[in-house]
């Protein structure tokens, strides 16, 4: 029963992700207008403009479609960095133990204790605005969870006889790490990765909403930012502020479903 249920949930997550990835790839074909082309402002939804236009007369539907690209790219790219940094530290700490382990654990604790939002804001203030600064700012504190969870798992695995046997056979450390330890982490890596994507997407939309996002590049958070600061709620322009909210929620949920249920697909 639970097996089926988790499989379905994971499948749903995969379908959601696949949908957004497809939209991102085919953005040029799908969007009816150039999202930065100006036109008549504040139009209501119509056959021409499915979700109306914004304060500059840009087609919101096209904005949304192009927004997938930025949001998804930011999310996945930061998650890759987070997972890479986290798992590298975890492998070093868990495999070598001793001083390396203590240093990395202390580092993780410190990074966890730092309030992440102010740090992120600070970084963005100093760095040049752009997609890569945003990725850096998002990743700077997000790796801690991954590092901590993976480290204890690596430690457990390294205590197992088969790793000890590899060592006595004289297998080189990188081979042990990448052939014998890492593959046994793949479930948990997948989970952490998916959750990191959703976390990064949330942070991105939050930052963009505050106006600290990627100027010039349209992300969902960005659309939301302009919707709010042009008083779309007071004006009752549901078609402007609701789509980005829904899209963020659905995409985040897609990754979370894969993250939570992906690991249960076995046994």
């Amino acid at each position: 029963m639970t097996k089926l249920k988790s499989n379905k949930a994971m499948l749903a997550g995969l379908v959601i992700i696949a949908f957004f990835v497809l939209v991102a790839c085919l953005a040029d074909l799908l969007s009816p207008y150039d999202p930065s082309a100006l036109g008549v402002a504040y139009q209501k939804p119509s056959a021409e403009h499915l979700l109306g236009t914004n304060d500059l007369g840009q087609d919101i539907f096209s904005e949304m479609i192009y927004g997938v690209r930025v949001s998804l790219f930011l999310g996945i790219f930061s998650a890759l960095i987070v997972t890479f940094v986290g798992s590298t530290l975890a492998l070093i700490a868990g495999y070598y133990g001793g001083a390396a382990d203590r240093i990395i654990c202390a580092l993780t604790d410190i990074a966890m204790a730092v309030p992440s939002l102010p740090l992120t804001l600070l970084l963005i203030a100093y760095l040049k605005s752009g997609v890569f600064s945003l990725v850096l700012a998002i990743s700077i504190t997000a790796w801690t969870g991954t590092a901590r969870i993976l480290r204890s798992r690596v430690r457990q695995i390294c205590q197992l006889p088969y790793i000890k046997i590899e060592k006595t056979l004289g297998v080189k450390t990188p081979v042990i790490l990448f052939r014998h330890v890492l593959p046994n982490l793949k479930d948990i890596l997948l989970t952490r990765m998916a959750l990191s994507v959703s976390g990064a997407m949330m942070t991105e939309s939050g930052l963009s909403f505050l106006g600290l996002g990627t100027y010039g590049q349209k992300s969902w958070g960005n659309i939301l930012h302009f919707a709010f600061f042009r008083n779309s709620i007071l004006r009752g322009q549901v078609w402007w502020y609701l789509p980005p909210i829904i899209c963020i929620c659905v995409a985040v949920m897609g990754f979370m479903l894969v993250g939570y249920y992906g690991q249960q697909k076995k046994d």
Partner: protein
């Protein structure tokens, strides 16, 4: 000293203590022993006596706090490298976790061949498992599809590819039924007669140690009780 293949001099290991009041407890306390070619030395002790920790120091898995391990009269650095690394091997108590669960038996068994720069051909692999009553079809299975007895035999086959001179057997049969135990012991005995390999046999069973070992050293609370006088 040429008739001593592996020697321990004053091996000591302390661990952080979980109990309150004590910061460290000494798992192994100044253990010295020597192993001669072609003999089976028994380390007999209860669980928690430190015999496994001592064993893992002897094969270079745990760095001793004090003392040293000597292979043919030469002190080995930690971790072991080169020839000594190849010649000193270990077999563990729990066969079900002695293999990487992601790999098939073929992949796991190919590894020691690769380490010795040999080709893991079908004939080589089949020959290597055949004397343990395993068949080519076992090669394609993952550890979860093999029984404990089959896995332990495969683990032994894998270690023997290295042509070791010393094998540390850490309770190799305590999880197996008596017949499989007798089979493995018999195999080890015949292999020793054939090749002159030395064994260190760690066990808690007096009757088994008496059957298997020529010389028995008792381990209690980290100390070797009847260490031989030299």
């Amino acid at each position: 000293m040429s008739d001593v293949i592996l020697e321990a001099r004053g091996l000591t290991k302390r661990f952080r203590s979980r109990e309150e009041g004590r910061r460290y407890f000494t798992a192994v306390d100044g253990a010295s022993l020597s192993l001669h070619p072609g003999e089976t030395l028994g380390l007999l002790g209860e669980s928690g006596s430190g015999k496994s920790t001592l064993g893992q120091m002897l094969v270079g898995l745990i760095r001793p706090d004090e003392g040293s391990v000597l292979y043919r009269g030469e002190t080995l650095p930690f971790p072991f490298r080169g020839l000594p690394r190849q010649k000193i091997q270990i077999l563990f108590q729990h066969p079900e976790v002695s293999f990487n669960p992601q790999l098939t038996l073929r992949q796991s068994l190919s590894e020691p061949f690769r380490l010795r720069k040999q080709l893991a051909t079908d004939e080589a692999l089949t020959a290597c498992i055949a004397r343990f009553g395993l068949y080519p079809e076992h090669l394609e299975r993952r550890p979860s599809a093999l029984s404990g007895g089959e896995l332990q035999r495969a683990a032994l086959a894998r270690v023997l590819v290295m042509e070791p001179e010393v094998i540390l057997l850490d309770e190799p049969t305590s999880m197996l039924d008596v017949i499989t135990q007798a089979q493995i012991v018999d195999f080890l005995r015949r292999y020793q007669e054939e090749t002159g390999t030395s064994y260190i046999f760690i066990t808690h069973s007096t009757s088994l140690a008496e059957q298997v070992c020529r010389r028995i050293v008792r381990v209690k609370e980290g100390k070797l009780l009847d260490s031989e006088k030299e």
